[in-house]
Every structure is written in structure tokens, then in C-alpha cells.
């Protein structure tokens, strides 16, 4: 079943197009990573899905309904970011208890357990927490709600490394026991890639790719060695990135459709094969044609 379907969806802020003609669908009970550079349109897309923003044109269906002003969508969705507004007079415990009355699958004992584990005092107030602790509390809310559609928009802002790791593990464990549709946006792909099933890569408001994460990791391969030989071996291949090293060597990232026999040729020619991290593929795919940061300094 498809939980989210968009068809030629667009959203403009004044003259800027944040989402441009986007068509995609997200299946039930998958963890999807929404990845993109700053300003790629991640938050805008998520807010439209959550019914917090109006689209400009196109179609959007969440649980088969237009999400804006839909009770069904708000009852089945939780949207976690670092801008959540809570009543000022509520302490953390009050917020959790109130959330329990909103969400059908709410697990209060899990919420309390996580609160204690992350050393948050139930009587504390949200506004008095540090940035990282606020984020931690927000993700506790997100996990414990067990919403059929759970959206985390850059949830780990301000968290330290240990807390981030614990959060991803907690999310995965709870997902294994209670499968649901989860969207996790981030620009730190290497941190979340292991727990993802699918990846959705946005670039300048458009879909760059949407595929199983295991496919993305096999999409590209890096070759390092003599430029002549590398160029000859990769003649007709799609190139994602290349740089020269020293006098006559190069490093080239190409689409990985080498056959077993070709791979042996590469090895025999003394060319090194290097894996390309998913994170790097994403940077190559979204870097555009402006050249690299080096070019800014090379202008005279």
C-alpha cells in the first residue's frame, strides 16, 4: 500500500520554487531517508506531507487524502523537527501525557523509559533544556507515538554523538517490533544509511533518485591509477566525478556496470578499485556544474 503519493507537486515561496514538479510514492512500513543539500526542499516537502503547508500546484495524497486540514492525516502522522511548540506551563511529563491522549498507539512506558535513559527529568520544562536535550525529548515523543506515519525532520540537531547513535538504535529496535512508515531527513547520510530501506534524494526541489539504499551503494565505483588506462577502461561509462592526481594519475567515479571479466581486466591493468560511500555519491550527484570549492579560490 502506498502511504504517500505526489504527482507533479510544486511549491513556490514568492518567486523561489522550493519543490518543482515532484512525482513519487512511498510504500507502507518502510524507513525512507530523505536526503538533500541545504535548500533542496526537504523540509518543504515534509511539511506539505504533514499538512502544515499548502502546495502551490499538483497533487498530494497521504493515506489517500489531501493532507491539509485532514483529521485522518493529523491523527495518523507525527512531525518532529526542532520547532515544536509546547504549552509553556507543561513540564516534560505533562507533554508526554497529553500526547498519549492524541495518539492511539502511544506507549507511555516506552516514553518514560527513554526519558529516564537519556537523563531527562520528568518535571523539567522544555524551554529550559539545552538544544541537544530538546532534540532528544522531541525524538522520544516521535518514537513513543508509534504513528503510522512518523516524520523526523533533521531530528539530531544539537545531539552529541552518543545520543545520536542511541536514537538511531532505539528507532530501529522499535521499528522492528512495530513496523510503520518512517521518513528521516538528514544531510548526514553516512549516519543513517544502515537503518534505511529506501533513499530519496532531492536536489533543487526535484527528485534526483529514489531507490533501495543497497542499490545506491552499488551504483558507483572509484578507479585510481594511470589516467590513460582509466580513461580507456571507462570509455563509454557514465562519469560522476573525476580529479587528477599528481602528473598522470587520476581518480574517476563511474557507474558500476562492470562485468566480472571486465573487473579482472581492471585489476590486471594495475588499476585500483575503490568503494564509493553513499555519502560521496550523493555529493557528486548534487554538486551541479559550478565546479568545486577550489574553483572559488582559483579565480584571479
Amino acid at each position: 500500500m502506498k502511504v504517500i503519493e505526489c504527482n507533479r507537486l510544486s511549491k513556490s515561496y514568492e518567486r523561489i520554487r522550493a519543490i518543482n514538479d515532484l512525482s513519487l510514492s512511498i510504500e507502507e512500513n518502510k524507513i525512507t531517508g530523505l536526503i538533500g543539500r541545504n535548500g533542496a526542499g526537504k523540509t518543504t516537502l515534509l511539511k506539505i506531507i504533514a499538512g502544515l503547508l499548502h502546495k502551490t500546484s499538483g497533487e498530494i495524497r497521504v493515506f489517500s487524502e489531501e493532507p491539509f486540514n485532514s483529521l485522518k492525516v493529523s491523527a495518523n502522522i507525527i512531525f518532529i523537527d526542532d520547532n515544536l511548540a509546547f504549552p509553556k506551563s507543561f513540564c516534560l511529563e505533562d507533554i508526554l501525557e497529553a500526547a498519549g491522549t492524541f495518539y492511539e498507539n502511544w506507549d507511555m512506558s516506552l516514553a518514560r523509559g527513554l526519558l529516564e535513559y537519556f537523563a531527562l527529568h520528568p518535571k523539567q520544562f522544555h524551554k529550559n533544556l539545552s538544544k541537544g536535550m530538546q532534540s532528544t525529548f522531541n525524538v522520544i515523543l516521535g518514537i513513543s507515538s508509534r504513528c503510522p506515519l512518523t516524520i523526523f525532520d533533521e531530528p539530531t540537531v544539537g545531539m552529541d554523538g552518543a545520543v545520536r547513535k542511541d536514537f538511531y538504535r532505539a528507532l530501529l529496535k522499535d521499528y522492528v517490533q512495530n513496523p510503520r512508515t518512517i521518513i528521516l531527513s538528514s544531510h548526514l547520510l553516512n549516519e543513517i544509511e544502515n537503518i534505511l530501506e529506501d533513499i530519496l534524494l532531492l536536489n533543487k526541489g526535484e527528485k534526483c533518485l529514489h531507490m533501495p539504499i543497497t542499490d545506491l551503494k552499488e551504483l558507483a565505483v572509484g578507479l585510481r591509477g594511470k589516467k590513460e588506462i582509466v580513461d580507456e577502461l571507462t570509455k563509454d561509462m557514465e562519469t560522476y566525478h573525476q580529479e587528477t592526481l599528481g602528473k598522470d594519475s587520476c581518480f574517476k567515479v563511474v557507474k558500476n556496470n562492470f562485468s566480472q571479466i571486465e573487473l579482472q581486466h581492471v585489476k590486471k591493468a594495475g588499476i585500483e578499485m575503490l568503494p564509493v560511500a553513499a555519502e560521496d555519491i550523493y555529493i557528486y550527484l548534487t554538486s551541479g556544474d559550478k565546479g568545486g570549492i577550489d574553483d572559488v579560490f582559483n579565480r584571479s
Partner: protein, 134 residues
Amino acid sequence: MKLNTEGMKPLYVQVSQWLETEILSGNIKENEKIYSQYQLAEMFNINPATAAKGLNILANEKILYKKRGLGMFVETNAKENILRKRKDQNLKPLVWELVMESERLGVTEYELVDMIKTAGIQIREGRNYESDRV
């Protein structure tokens, strides 16, 4: 449990190889139930779909078989199948690398065979390969 996230080997291949090692070492016997995709997901901290992909590789290679609604079980000849596969897929490329490097260094076939024999003896005696150099 730790998987190598940097290497050339996809995570699901690493999962399937870990399962093979469990079968070879006798930790999971023939016709016994193997870990589910969910157990593997928790053990390795990976998405259950990735773990399922690792299990499916082994099902396609007749190392595991599916019982509807019950999960996956170890095939009767699993050990032999794994050994045959590893000889073909792991050992062969290693031997190729070995021979290629020897050619580059100008090591003769005789020397190479001799080195392999010596290494065999040292490994069986539990010695370190650097020990005879001092």
C-alpha cells in the same frame, strides 16, 4: 555486532557470509531454524530489508530453505555447498592476486610454491610468519 561499512562488500553480503560461518562452525545445524530478518536487523543494527536480502542470497544458493510461515532453515547439504562456493568465490580470486603479484615481483613458480608450503607448515605449527626473519 559490527559490520564493515567502508569496504567494498555490501552489508547484506557480509550478513550472508556471517551466517555461512555460523553454519560451518556448527552453531546452527542442518534443518535448524536460522535467525529471522528481524533478529539479524537488531544484531547488526541494519534495516530488516537489508537483512532479508542477505537471507535470500543463501536461499537462492540452496544453503537455506523457506518454510511458509515458519521462517528459514538450514539445508541438508549446506556445509558442502558453502565450502564449494567459498573455494570458487574466495580462494580463486586470492590465488589470482597472489600469482599476479608474483609475476610483478619476478618470483618464479617454484619459489611461490615453496613459499606456500612453508606458510602451510608455519600455520599448522601455530607460528608467526615474521618469526624466522630475526
